[in-house]
């Protein structure tokens, strides 16, 4: 309960600061001018959308400039709305913004789901490897049985998902795939060449193969709430392609403009039909069938990860509880500090610290980091349950055991702990179900668990209804049996066996 309250406060704080930032961003020149709300994700978003390092309230990037161009052509003032990359399509449909730009890819699924502009930039999917592996890993075919990282919800993630043999490892951002490549957690990264170029400049010892694994384009997505908007955006893009304004914008960022763009511009201005991948999108049935094995695999990951983490949490939790009940003053102080730190800080932060924060000292495997993060965090909660349960065992029971000649250790092991566990069972069950759901947080360290896989599924399908229902069913299929077994155990401990 306290966790929820804490999360609520955190969300409120983030919400208020985001609101303040947006206000600062707007700078409000003429209050009368109507706004064009445009959505994007500034996290790791250069050269698309990125906070200016000199003034974090200001955004820079070619998508920022294109949004400003479209706004000024429409006679409006651009106002930025921050949206997670993976949620942009859904937000457009909900009408959270008028147009969305953030290196958004031109895919059949997207075109079917949300109004999509003509492409304004042509890019290549390229393979980046460590310099040392440059001759060994030349294409995806050389990477059988190896981990290849990418950004989830992208064409690159799709390509990896379809490539037999490689272990697709989707991340939530486009920075950590490359840093993990540099320290050897993955063996290659498949992503847009703009991202690869930046990463190779940032991280030492990486090499990008120039050949394109695939090509695609960036597009503007448009909210369906304003039916005329799509045509106006297309007209503005075409006119900017003809008169050189778009080229000027793309040339502002180093390494963005290249020979592919004039060809794209020519094709777009010659015809009025939107181009791109025109292959027919898959039906919902085919998509579901294709994703079902992945969802089941992800559910399995969620299940064993949660079970192992819970075992760790119980063992460490009992240790902490015993230390707090029987330990010396200093032991109690150390353990109490541990519990308060683990309970008082977000598990998300703990996962980041364990996986990325200490990576320069010890680069833990993602699954080990996930187990440690979940286990150590929940150990704090478990220890509180066991401590109060240990203290709830009546003193008479302990005295009766002592008089029989049991040592203090035996009293704890044979009488106090078994009785305390019975008291702790209900809150423990509760915690296990909470852990099952909190395990979805480990997707931030690239562990492909159920909630993340559902999100990828939903993005691909363009709807949350089927993926949402399937995901909920799988979570319930895992949590309900636990609750059932716990209730049975409780009943057995309470009810008379024979009269």
């Amino acid at each position: 309960m306290r966790r929820r309250a804490f999360a609520g406060i955190l969300i409120a704080v983030i919400g208020v600061s985001a609101h303040l930032a947006a206000q600062a961003q707007a700078q409000a020149p003429t209050p009368a001018q109507p706004v064009l709300r445009w959505g994007g994700d500034p996290e790791g978003g250069a050269p698309f959308v990125q906070a200016d390092s000199r003034n974090p309230n200001r955004l820079v990037g070619f998508d920022v400039d294109i949004a400003a161009l479209i706004a000024s052509e429409l006679g409006r003032r651009p106002e930025f709305v921050q949206i997670t990359f993976q949620s942009l399509d859904q937000s457009a449909l909900r009408g959270d913004f008028d147009i969305g730009l953030s290196g958004i890819e031109n895919t059949p699924a997207r075109r079917q789901m949300v109004p999509t502009s003509i492409p304004y930039y042509q890019f290549k999917e390229v393979l980046t490897v460590r310099e040392a592996d440059r001759d060994r890993f030349k294409s995806l075919a050389d990477l059988g049985g190896r981990k290849v990282a990418t950004l989830s919800g992208t064409i690159a993630a799709d390509i990896l998902g379809r490539t037999a043999g490689v272990i697709a490892t989707p991340y939530d951002d486009d920075v950590h795939p490359y840093s993990d490549l540099a320290i050897g957690r993955v063996d290659a990264v498949l992503l847009d060449h703009l991202l690869a170029d930046r990463a190779v400049r940032r991280e030492k010892g990486l090499y990008t193969h120039p050949a394109a694994v695939a090509t695609s384009q960036y597009v503007v997505i448009v909210s369906p709430k304003d039916p005329g908007m799509l045509d106006r955006v297309n007209d503005i893009l075409r006119s900017a392609m003809r008169d050189g304004r778009l080229e000027a914008i793309l040339r502002k960022q180093p390494g963005v403009w290249n020979d592919d763009q004039p060809k794209l511009f020519q094709a777009m201005t010659a015809t009025t039909a939107p181009e791109g991948d025109t292959s027919a999108p898959a039906s919902w049935f085919e998509t579901t069938r294709a994703f079902l094995p992945k969802l089941l695999m992800a559910a399995w990951t969620t299940l064993w990860l949660s079970c192992l983490a819970m075992v760790g949490a119980v063992v460490v939790g009992i240790g902490i509880a015993v230390g707090r009940v029987y330990g010396s003053r200093s032991t109690r102080l150390v353990l109490t500090t541990y519990v308060e730190i683990m309970r008082g800080t977000p598990i998300l932060l703990q996962l980041f610290v364990i996986y990325y924060g200490i990576a320069s000292v010890i680069a833990l495997d993602a699954y080990i980091a996930a187990l440690l993060g979940l286990g150590l965090n929940y150990a704090a909660y478990e220890s509180e349950i066991y401590r109060s349960a240990l203290e709830a065992v009546s003193k008479n029971q302990l005295d009766a055991a002592r008089v029989l000649g049991l040592t203090e250790g035996q009293v704890l092991r044979l009488v106090r702990t078994p009785q305390a566990l019975r008291l702790a069972l209900a809150p423990m069950t509760n915690d296990f179900v909470a852990l099952l759901k909190d395990s979805s947080l480990v997707s931030v360290i690239a562990v492909p668990e159920l909630a993340k896989q559902t999100q990828i599924f939903a993005t691909n399908m363009g709807s949350w209804i089927i993926p949402g229902l399937m995901c909920a069913t799988l979570y319930l299929a895992m949590s309900l049996p636990v609750a059932y077994v716990a209730r049975r155990l409780e009943a057995r401990w309470k009810a008379p066996t024979t009269a």
Binding site: V403, L406, Q419
Partner: protein, 253 residues
């Protein structure tokens, strides 16, 4: 063991027992002894310190003075004191609430210390436990959990649990409190049989009929001291101390 000194038949000797909690003297110098075969009852008004004496003998209270000898092992407030663990090997105690282990069946309650303290093989422990439960008339309740037992049954299981350790001294706190008169008499008879096997029994009680009938010696406690002691009928029929007289005043008479 059956040696030459004058205390040879004394299983228990309590000398100058003192115990304070905060500013209050709970026990202000208690002296008495109990010999083999004896059934000694401690009586006193509530708060006189009866239960505390039993707990102190069982090593559950820290002493502030005096000494307790059990079969020659000495428990004192000082540093030379034997560990309570060494002492407890010779003592059994039946609490007023019985305090059976709630998570174990009657049989498992009787087996636990046999297996983990006496290190008996489990089969042997189970056989002994069944025998004791049978002797006390609760053999058919062996597999019941404490919460399924009646007060009398759980008391007999608690006695069996103590006897399984073959103590030379058995302490019982208010064993008559929750029993009807017929059961009380039954209990008295089985306690006498136990005493006759060479143990010393020390119990607390409020029931003077029970004491007259079954006790071999009576000790009256008041304000943390022994104020009167002797043959039960004699003490009860001609009480010398006001505390003893107060004990005998019943609401009905």
């Amino acid at each position: 063991m059956e040696g030459a000194d004058h205390r040879m038949s004394n299983v228990l000797q309590v000398r100058g027992l003192r115990l304070r909690r905060g500013p209050r003297d709970i026990l202000a110098g208690v002296d008495f002894e109990a010999a083999r075969g004896e059934l000694l009852v401690l009586m006193g008004l509530s708060g006189a310190g009866k239960s505390t004496v039993l707990r102190a003998i069982a090593g559950l209270e820290k002493l502030d003075g005096g000494e307790i000898h059990i079969n020659g092992v000495e428990l004192t407030s000082g540093r030379r004191s034997a560990s309570p663990a060494a002492l407890r090997r010779k003592i059994g105690m039946v609490f007023q609430s019985h305090s059976l282990f709630e998570h174990l069946t009657a049989l498992e309650n009787v087996c636990l210390a046999q297996v983990h303290v006496l290190r008996l093989p489990r089969t042997e422990a189970v056989a002994r436990a069944r025998e004791l439960l049978d002797q006390l008339g609760v053999g058919e309740r062996a597999d019941a959990l404490p919460r399924e037992l009646s007060g009398g049954e759980s008391q007999r299981v608690a006695i069996a649990r103590s006897l399984a350790m073959d103590p030379s001294l058995l302490l019982l706190d208010e064993p008559t409190a929750s029993l009807d008169p017929a059961r009380r008499n039954e209990l008295g008879l089985s306690l006498r049989r136990l005493a006759a096997t060479g143990r010393a029994l020390v119990l607390t009680s409020h029931d003077d009929d029970f004491v007259r009938e079954h006790a071999t010696r009576l000790v009256i406690l008041a304000e943390g001291r022994v104020v009167e002691a002797g043959e039960p009928r004699k003490v009860l029929d001609s009480p010398l101390h006001p505390a003893t007289r107060a004990l005998l005043q019943r609401p009905s008479s």
